[in-house]
Point group: C2
Chain length 342, copies 2
C-alpha cells in the first residue's frame, strides 16, 4: 500500500470531527474555534518504558496513550476538546500497527467527544505516541490545580485503586516497567490468584483505562480545592498536591478502595494489598482535596456518574507539616519521582 | 543533581512567559487565555532520522525542532502563541544535554514571543523532541491553507533555497538523512568548495533555521491564495499545494533563489545546483501562490522584513493539469513523500 493511501485511510479511521474544528487534518495546521481559556497537556508513552507491544494490542496502545493525556485534563476539571498526535513508528512496521493505534485512540476520542485534529507521523527507532490534548473552559476559576489544598481539607479518591498494577502483574508477573520492574513472582502463581472474569477486568484497567473527565469536571464545579490524576501511584501523586500546596497529607491505606482482585494478586506477589495500591500507578483515578463543608456536595455530584464508580472514598486529610510529605498510618513515604511534567 | 532540581532549572531556563499564560509549567496542564481561533501543528524530530547528535549541539537541536514546528504556523499566516514539548531522552543522558535542548528552544521562543507553556519529559531508547505549537487568529479568513491556488496564480518563494541542504552536506558529505542519505562525496572536497564565512552561513541555515512567521503573516494579509513551508524540499512541498488545490504547478529551476554557496557545494557533490535546491529540504522558506493582481502588494508587504531577505522570488505559475503534478522546465517530477502530517 502506498503511504499516501495509508494516510488517507488513517484519516478515515479518525472519523467525524466537531463542528468547532474549522480545518482538520491535511493542512499545515488544524484550526479550531477557541473559547476563553485553553487548557493544554502533553503525555508521551514509549515502547519499553510505558508499555510493551507484545502485551497490548495496537488499539489498546493507542487508547492508553490518549487516555493518559486526557486524564490530565480531567485532573484540571476542564472540558476536553481536541487531541494532537505525534507518532513515531519503526521503519518497516506493518500498516496494521498504524491502523490499530489510530483506531484505538479514535474510538476513545469519540467516546468523549474529542476530535483528533492533527498530528505528525515519523520514522523512529522505537514506537512512541505523544498526545497533546486541549480542553476549554470559559472561566479559569472553574479549574482546579494542585496547589489549593489547605490544612483541614479531606482527601478523596474516585473509583478504585491498584487495578492497573494488578492487570500488569497478571500480564507479566511484573508490577512496574520502571526501575523496580524486575519479575517478582512466577507468572502462573499470580495468574492463578483470580478467576477469569476478575483477570479480564484487571487487564482492562491496565490496557484501556478510562480518563475521569466527567468526574473531574463535577469535582471542580462542586468545590474540590486541589486535584491530580493518579498516573505514577497515589504516594507519588498525592505528594505533588502536598508540595504544590505547602502542606502534608495524612492517608490511611486501610481506607483505600481496592479494585476487585487486587488483594488476591498482591498477596500472590507477596505484597501488602494496601501498599500495592499506593505504589501502583496508571489507575487514572482522581485524587483530590475538599473543605469538609463541601463533602456532601462532592458526594452528590459524583452520584450516578459512570466514570466515578464506586463513588468517592475518603482516604485521609490535609495537615500542616513538611510540604510534599505524605504520611501513611504505616509510616512516612517520600516522593519517588521517575517522570516529570515540565 | 536530583531530578526535581533539574526540572526546576529547566523551568528557569525557559524564562518569562506571556501574560496570556494563566497557569504555566508545574500543574497537570497549562492554562492560556484563548482567542477566536486556535491554529495548532505538531512537528517531531528524531535522532538518526532528522538529525544526528554528533553534528549539532543540544541547543541547535532544540532550536531546530521548535523552528520546524513554528514554520507550520508561518505557513498558515497565524500569529504564534505557545509551544508544548514532548521530550524523550535516553536513560543516563547528561543533564547538560537537557539544559542545552531547553536553552536552544527557549531562546528561539523568546525571539518570536512564544511561550513554552508545558511539556512532558520521559525516558526513551533514543532522543526525540516533538513540539506542538499553537497560534491564534481572530478571523479564520486571514489564514492561508494549501488548497487555494487557482490556475493563473503566480508561484513565489521567500528568501533563498538549498542552504540547509548544503549546510548538511558540509557537515557530513550527505545531502539527506533519509533514503538517499548515503555519503555521496568525499567530505574534504565538499568542504573545500566554499570559504569559511560561506560555510558558517550554510551551517547556520541547517542548524538554526528561522521560521518565517512575520513573512507568513504578511503574505496572508497581502492576499496569498495558498501557502506551505519548505520542509521536505520544494518539489515535494509544491506538490502538496498542487494536490490540495486540484491543479498543477509549473516551476522554473533557473528562477530559484539559491542561497550563497549552494552552487559551489552542489557542484562539488556533482549535482546540478537547481536540482539540488529543488530536492533539499529544511530551508523553512515559504512557497506560496498569489493572483497576478496581488503581486505588487505581496512584494511591498515583504519589503524590509528581516525574515524575508532577499525578498520574493517568482518561480513559476499555477496551471490546469493533473493535480499534484509539479512540472519543471527540465521535465516532470512526481511526489516523493517520506513523512506525513496527518
Amino acid at each position: 500500500m502506498r503511504e499516501l493511501e495509508l494516510i488517507a485511510e488513517l484519516r478515515d479511521l479518525l472519523g467525524a470531527h466537531s463542528p468547532r474544528v474549522v480545518r482538520w487534518l491535511g493542512d499545515d495546521a488544524a484550526v479550531v474555534q477557541g473559547r476563553a481559556y485553553a487548557v493544554t497537556s502533553v503525555d508521551t508513552m514509549v515502547e519499553g518504558v510505558h508499555f510493551r507491544s507484545g502485551e497490548l494490542s495496537p488499539a489498546e496502545i493507542g487508547h492508553r496513550a490518549l487516555a493518559g493525556a486526557l486524564s490530565d485534563l480531567a485532573a484540571m476539571g476542564a472540558e476536553a476538546g481536541e487531541a494532537y498526535l505525534a507518532l513515531g513508528v519503526p521503519s518497516g512496521s506493518d500498516a496494521e500497527l498504524l491502523r490499530g493505534l489510530v483506531r484505538g485512540a479514535g474510538a476513545l476520542a469519540r467516546e468523549y467527544d474529542v476530535t483528533i485534529a492533527g498530528g505528525d507521523l515519523t520514522s523512529a527507532p522505537s514506537l512512541f505516541l505523544s498526545f497533546t490534548v486541549v480542553g476549554w473552559v470559559d472561566d479559569p476559576g472553574e479549574l482546579v490545580g494542585r496547589g489549593g489544598a489547605r490544612s483541614g481539607d479531606l482527601v478523596g479518591v474516585t473509583g478504585s485503586l491498584g487495578g492497573s498494577g494488578a492487570g500488569l502483574a497478571l500480564l507479566s508477573a511484573r508490577t512496574s516497567l520502571h526501575g523496580s520492574g524486575a519479575v517478582v513472582a512466577d507468572a502462573a502463581i499470580v495468574q492463578g490468584a483470580v478467576n477469569a472474569e476478575l483477570a479480564a477486568g484487571l487487564r482492562r484497567r491496565y490496557a484501556t483505562p478510562a480518563p475521569r473527565l466527567r468526574a473531574g469536571r463535577a469535582l471542580a464545579l462542586a468545590g474540590a480545592s486541589a486535584m491530580i490524576d493518579i498516573s505514577d501511584g497515589l504516594a507519588t501523586d498525592a505528594a505533588q498536591i502536598a508540595r504544590a500546596s505547602g502542606c502534608a497529607l495524612e492517608l490511611s491505606p486501610a481506607a483505600l478502595p481496592l479494585a476487585p482482585g487486587v488483594a488476591e494478586v498482591a498477596s500472590a506477589l507477596g505484597q501488602d494489598p494496601g501498599a500495592f495500591a499506593v505504589q501502583a500507578g496508571e489507575d487514572y483515578e482522581l485524587c483530590f482535596t475538599v473543605p469538609p463543608e463541601a463533602r456532601v456536595a462532592i458526594e452528590t455530584a459524583l452520584e450516578g456518574l459512570s466514570d466515578a464508580r464506586p463513588g468517592v472514598s475518603w482516604i485521609g486529610k490535609v495537615v500542616s507539616g513538611e510540604p510534599s510529605e505524605v504520611r501513611f498510618d504505616a509510616g512516612s513515604q517520600q516522593l519517588a519521582g521517575y517522570e516529570h511534567q515540565l
